[in-house]
Amino acid sequence: MTTLRERTADRALAVTTASTTRPGNRTLLRLGRASLLVRRRSVFVAVGLLVVLFAAMVLSLSLGTPYVAPVDVLRSLSGAGTPYDLVVLDLRLPRIVLAVVAGAAFGIAGTLIQSVSRNALASPDIIGITQGAGLAATIALTTGVAAALVAPAALAGGLFAAAALLALGSKHGLAAQRFVLAGVAVAMALRALTEVVLLSADPIDGMRAQIWLVGTLAGKGWTEATYIAITLVVLLPVLLWAGWALNSSALDDDTARGLGLRPTARRVGLATTGVLAAASVTAQVGAVDFVALVAPQVARRLVRAERPPLVCAALVGAVLVVLADLAGRRLFAPTQLPAGVLTAAIGGPYLIFLLVRGRRRAA
């Protein structure tokens, strides 16, 4: 038996890249008993995406009225203290950090749900989970429930929508397109119900809920970002496990069972995590459509993996929302467009592209 200290030291040493153990340019990372097989390409892509994300953030911090030169942005960020500190650190940074966190959460949610259903089109905003969260939150907002309960209500609404969809749409499995179309119907019904609630509510409450529903980051910042970040941290253990579980979900259920894995429990766990992540972002920033659909697929193509890679999808999601928010702020200045409008306008054609491509390859 080794002592605890020895084992700790052992672990610290073991975080070295072992030699390539399998074909396909993979690298084995070891941390004590835990090991992770990482494709080297996904590490490069992740680093590249981090650079792009940082550049997008700096760009977004510098553009606007007043314009702040990137150099000054960097100086402000480093704490050097510039005349632009107020603009950069207090006015713009909170919103942009929120964009990063929200985009990452959307990317994670999309990856989990798409992987579990093995369906590239199944993303929370298309199959009704976002709309379920929106409906529950609208009910909460218009019935004068305590503000603290709006977010939990949204989480519950998202889970409820997912459960309803499973009951209604999974007759022929989750992988088929008809599952997605059943989800589209669920989403339409939930959106219509939301309208009913909005229209029958007290006008002031209704207005508040309407503003809340639009997928925008305007006027939001640290509070919302903190809330999403807390949710992600709570979900982190599942996410870490997911990194491994996503790989093993390539196995068919019988093989997985034979290896002592529990495919159903894993799938339920991953799907629930994805739903909670999607609902928690929706609760804070409203529906920024298509990010959860697009991010995993873009990441998958960048990494050239068969399944969406979690970390890269989160990074792509963050880049997308930062850029959508920036474009919404600047494109038609002084008019601000909600980020959700831009992502929807661009996301639709991307969905069509996926459909055209997917059918081609299947044919």
Partner: protein, 348 residues
């Protein structure tokens, strides 16, 4: 292959008994339509008795009842009639032309194209009259329709109902976002647009119905002309040619009819979903797949559904009202789920 119309269309030998049944259905639909119109006059925040309705109709004497009917309920009823018929018939046409049971103006993104056309008319060209909107609505419907068909064809199995529907849903989302963007950018457009509320038939002038009626009539007539050809089309292009139909011409007239009807319907009432999906299926269940009958019965039942949705919308959230388009979505979404679940509808 889809289920739209293979069993009996075209080639059937129609026994008189069957025709009598269809006639009975058509008469029943007409009676239902009369009831719906009466209900639309009578039901609302201030209920009126049939006697009051009748009295106000024959003699507009400036009484409260007559003002309610002529100023408020007559216009929305007239619009409900035109738009309901237009959407239901266009649904029949789209389902026949695509051989796709999920085809529907809203789901296919064609309604959204028409709305975008209207908003572009307001924002870019400064059009301010409904007569002007209609043309842009028709142009938008045409462009969107061509896009959906073109893209679905590129998927190689464009006949797959679910693919076509998903392409349409994606178009609907994008066009919707562009509409919102145009509205946010330009305050004047937003003001105009507010009077042209999404998916409702309330609060509009009676002239709205009068202005779209000519377009709807032309569309309905074209649909009637195409009816026999559509029956033949259901049997496949080759058989249709063999039966002496000019396939291209049938597609052209059917497509033109659909575009006219959707453009007019959306210009008058906004993109209302599911009337074009639900009514054709109901009509086919009642009278079979002969398009002359399906088109007729759909044209009668479409307004019934839309008026019923409008009446429900007046009642469920007092003192406010829910636009008819939202009610049809609430009724129609479960229907879509049922249809998607049914294995034989979908080939994927």
């Amino acid at each position: 292959m889809t289920t739209v119309a293979v069993q009996s269309a075209g080639l059937e030998t129609s026994p008189p008994r069957r025709d009598r049944r269809r006639l009975a259905v058509a008469v029943g639909a007409l009676a239902l339509l009369g009831l719906a119109v009466l209900a639309s006059f009578a039901i609302g925040s201030k209920p009126l008795s049939p006697a009051q309705v009748w009295h106000a109709l024959v003699a507009a004497d400036g009484s409260e009842a007559s003002i309610i009917i002529w100023e408020l309920r007559m216009p929305r009823t007239a619009i409900g009639l035109v738009v309901g018929a237009a959407l239901a018939v266009s649904g029949v046409l789209l389902q026949a032309l695509t051989r796709n049971p999920l085809a529907e103006p809203r789901i296919m993104g064609i309604s959204a194209g028409a709305s975008l056309g209207v908003v572009v008319a307001i924002a870019v060209f400064g059009v301010g009259t409904l007569a002007g909107y209609v043309w842009f609505g028709i142009a938008g419907a045409l462009v969107a329709g061509l896009l959906v068909f073109g893209i679905a064809n590129r998927t190689r199995d464009g006949a797959n109902p679910v693919t076509l529907a998903l392409v349409g849903v994606a178009m609907d989302a994008s066009f919707g976002a562009i509409v919102v963007a145009l509205l946010s950018i330009d305050a004047r457009t937003f003001e105009e647009y507010r009077f042209w509320v999404v998916g409702g038939i309330a609060g509009r002038d009676a002239t709205v119905a009068a202005q779209v009626v000519p377009f709807a009539l032309v569309g309905l007539m074209l649909a009637a002309v195409a009816a026999r050809g559509l029956d033949a089309l259901a049997l496949g292009d080759d058989v249709a040619r063999g039966l002496g139909h000019r396939v291209g011409l049938v597609r052209l007239s059917g497509g033109a009819a659909a575009v006219l009807l959707i453009g007019a319907g959306v210009a008058a009432a906004g993109p209302i979903a599911f009337v074009g999906l639900a009514v054709p299926h109901l009509a086919r269940a009642l009278v079979g797949t002969d398009h002359r009958w399906t088109l007729l019965v759909s044209g009668l039942l479409g307004p019934v559904l839309l008026l019923a949705a409008d009446i429900i919308g007046r009642l469920i959230a007092p003192p406010g009202e829910i636009p008819a388009g939202i009610v049809t979505a609430l009724i129609g979404a479960p229907l879509l789920v049922i249809m998607v679940r049914r294995a034989r509808v979908v080939t994927s």
